[in-house]
């Protein structure tokens, strides 16, 4: 199993990939997931996050099998 990480819009382009899978070992929160792919950097305030397709906070818990998404401010409508 793993944690499936997805990126959208400008963040997807910046990252150069739309998704990736991470080992859940040591990843307890959304913030931990971000740090795992950004060399320990803090999740920037202007980015939003979701766990299993529901809005979440950096301190929201994650577990094996979760889908975690990061994206910029939304601009629909």
């Amino acid at each position: 199993m793993s944690i499936h990480v997805r990126y959208f819009a400008s963040l997807r382009e910046t990252m150069g990939r739309m998704d990736e899978s991470l080992s859940p070992d040591g990843l307890l929160t959304v913030s931990d997931v971000w740090k795992a792919v950004h060399q320990g950097q803090t999740l920037p305030d202007h980015l939003l996050c979701a766990v299993n397709m529901a809005y979440a906070k950096p301190e929201s818990p994650v577990q094996d099998g979760d889908e975690v998404a990061f994206f910029p401010q939304v601009t629909g409508g």
Partner: protein, 148 residues
């Protein structure tokens, strides 16, 4: 709440007619319908915009729209609702979003539609990328909804 996402252009007026003509639409006691139709402009921030790419988060987008409708319904009861949104490649004049609510009286319908529009703008996971001549860029934020 009925949610529809389209990858190709749609006619909002045809959709509304079909929605109101459907057998499950209890039209006889619904005295009010309030509609919002958002169309792609050919300009933004003083520059011509040739087209838009509208990205979304399949699955979460639909869930968030349902959640918005449920939350609005708790404070502003309406009987029926419709949200339609384009995704993909969009050109000026295309309808991007159609929001409609139906209720017994006008106050609930007008208020519910307005609340859904604003919540969609701030919460539903859609992202616009504008094509301006040879350049393209992601829109960073929506325009304010207030006219005050």
């Amino acid at each position: 709440m009925e949610i529809q996402l389209f990858e190709t252009p749609y006619d909002p007026y045809a959709l509304l007619r079909d929605f109101e003509m459907a057998p499950d639409h209890p039209g006889s006691h619904l005295g009010a319908a309030s509609l919002f139709i958002g169309t792609m402009r050919d300009f933004n921030e003083g520059e011509a915009v040739e087209s838009l790419w509208l990205e979304h988060y399949p699955g979460m987008t639909e869930r968030e729209l349902q959640k918005i409708a449920q939350e609005v319904r708790q404070t502003t009861p309406f009987e029926r609702g419709l949200i339609v949104h384009r995704v993909g490649h969009i050109t000026p004049g295309d309808t991007i979003v159609l929001i409609g609510t139906w209720s017994c009286h006008r106050a609930e319908a007008i208020t519910a539609t307005s609340k859904i529009v604003e919540a969609l703008k701030h919460r539903a996971p859609f992202w616009k990328k504008e094509q301006r001549g040879e350049k393209n860029h992601w829109v960073e934020r929506n325009t304010p909804g207030s006219v005050a």
